[in-house]
Symmetry: C2
Subunit: 316 residues, 2 copies
């Protein structure tokens, strides 16, 4: 069995991380300080594994084999013992993180890397005063990480380069898609691009160009399809005969003219938010949100199956 | 057989439109003034149809049946005769469009709608002086429209509302996903969102946050997966317990802080473009661009198959 991984915080994100590491053969210790959280987490993971096995998303293991890699450990020090990597997925609160990370740094083996799943708090905000702060960084997933492979590695100014490299290698080895940021930046990379797109989506509706449903159709039935398998640079690289430089030379003046009209950062007013809500509820009743979320999760699973086949070359 | 459609301009876009209308049962007349273009277009369509039939993307028809709906017509007036809808896919040049549209408006049956596939030129730039300008609009597809359903309908200020409604109904009936813009705007809707995202992608590399390959991974292995089946409003609607208003209230301050750092419109310098090119060529050699484009097209076809099944409810 491969090296031990400790999962600290077993909500939606921590549970999915446990699956990621366990299906890759790691011994996984799950820890959560909230009463009942561990039993709940294991029950939910057990309920998820058979569907993943049926879809061949357990890297060749059975659900039972993956389950055997998982251990609920009520004592934090025992959960951390001998771990090579600690993945923290606690609530998104800097004070909570500061207190917890002081404990993690004190109790984790000196050779262990400690990574946070935070989507919004830079590691520098909760690791500065730690004794071994060089081993601390952000490893931010997209939910749920057992279906969506991206992991953003964001070092604090004091994170050791070797720690970043080891974490990137670990994430790649377990089948995730790690990227490395050279320094901290608000929103990291994926959410910064999402925010840029959302700001324009919101503007288009606020300005009365079209409705919420039509904006979504423009993505989900149009420009968004390719983004499920190639990013914006490769899109451009393949959209001009001689690649990305050719693409930039052909279109950058046009893009600049559009970008010049997208420079206002806006907060949405309560009236605008109410209008978004009104239009969405006309498309999906409030009592259907849960069922639609499960529909979305099934689609993400189907995409994960497809992308696994593409990556293996099964579909060439 | 359903109403006749005329395709004027039979390059990449016009050919794909011909497939869209013919597989839905329409009689399609193809016209192109360039010598040899019509023969070439029919040959390329014939080469494409069997793969679409194998993937059940011909709405139940065979390749041979779809082929029977297609007629190459060298005379423009004959091509337009009795058409209910004219889809123009000529070069992206306002002068070319102005001259061509004067002909189209003169020769097309008075009841025919005339739509342009242009991605960048508003209909007001080439229809203002036409005798029947109320029947003219933009119907902008994403390439290739036989695999990507989005069609952006963009009326000029003088386009009849009924013409927009009829075109939307036609596009929906042939299986496309039409959206309606209430007025002309540079870049329409899909490309405006694409530009907003690309500007941030370019900034992240220019600022040294991360490399071209990692930015692309952030989309293609992360935030982009969901955009192949739900748009940004629905993403938000499903990402907070009580829907989009809840989502905006939770996250809009954070989004605003990020958006405030994304307000500079930039042209890429020659040095930046050279750096994009250098990084892309390290990921994909120039002589592999063609093969990779075919790889992309196979992936788009697989997504089209999947989305057809999702829309039919085959995967619930």
């Amino acid at each position: 069995m491969a090296d031990k991984i400790a999962i600290v915080g077993c909500g939606l994100v921590g549970r999915a991380w446990a699956i990621v590491f366990a299906r890759a053969g790691h011994a996984v210790a799950l820890h959560d300080p909230v009463a009942g959280a561990l039993d709940n987490a294991l029950a939910l993971i057990e309920a998820t594994l058979p569907e993943l096995e049926r879809n061949d998303l357990l890297r060749g293991s059975t659900a039972a084999e993956v389950r055997e890699h998982l251990a609920a450990v009520g004592d934090l020090e025992a959960a951390l013992a001998e771990a090579v990597h600690v993945q923290e997925s606690a609530p998104e609160n800097p004070e909570v993180k500061r207190a917890l990370w002081a404990e993690l740094d004190r109790l984790a083996p000196s050779a262990a890397v400690i990574a946070s799943s935070t989507s919004a708090i830079p590691a520098s905000a909760f690791t500065e005063s730690l004794g071994h702060r060089g081993r601390c960084l952000v490893a931010h997933p997209i939910n749920p990480p057992h279906l969506v492979p991206l992991v953003e590695l964001v070092p604090a100014p004091w994170t050791d380069a070797d720690v970043v490299a080891r974490t990137r290698a670990l994430m790649a080895a377990v089948g995730q898609a790690p990227i490395t940021l050279n320094r901290e930046i608000d929103g990291f990379v994926a959410n910064r691009m999402q925010v840029a797109l959302m700001q324009e989506a919101y503007r288009l509706v606020e300005e009365g160009i079209c409705g919420v449903g039509d904006v979504d159709t423009a993505i989900a039935e149009g420009i968004g399809l390719r983004w499920s398998f190639i990013g914006p640079f490769e899109v451009g690289d393949l959209n001009a005969p001689d690649g990305i430089a050719d693409y930039c030379r052909r279109f950058s003046d046009m893009f600049y003219e559009i970008a010049r009209t997208q420079t206002e950062a806006r907060r949405q007013s309560p009236e605008t938010i109410a209008e978004f809500e009104r239009q969405r509820r006309a498309l999906l009743a409030a009592d259907q949100l849960g069922e639609r979320s499960r529909w979305r999760d099934r689609r993400l699973m189907e995409l994960a199956v497809w992308k696994t086949k593409v990556a293996r070359g099964d579909l060439e």
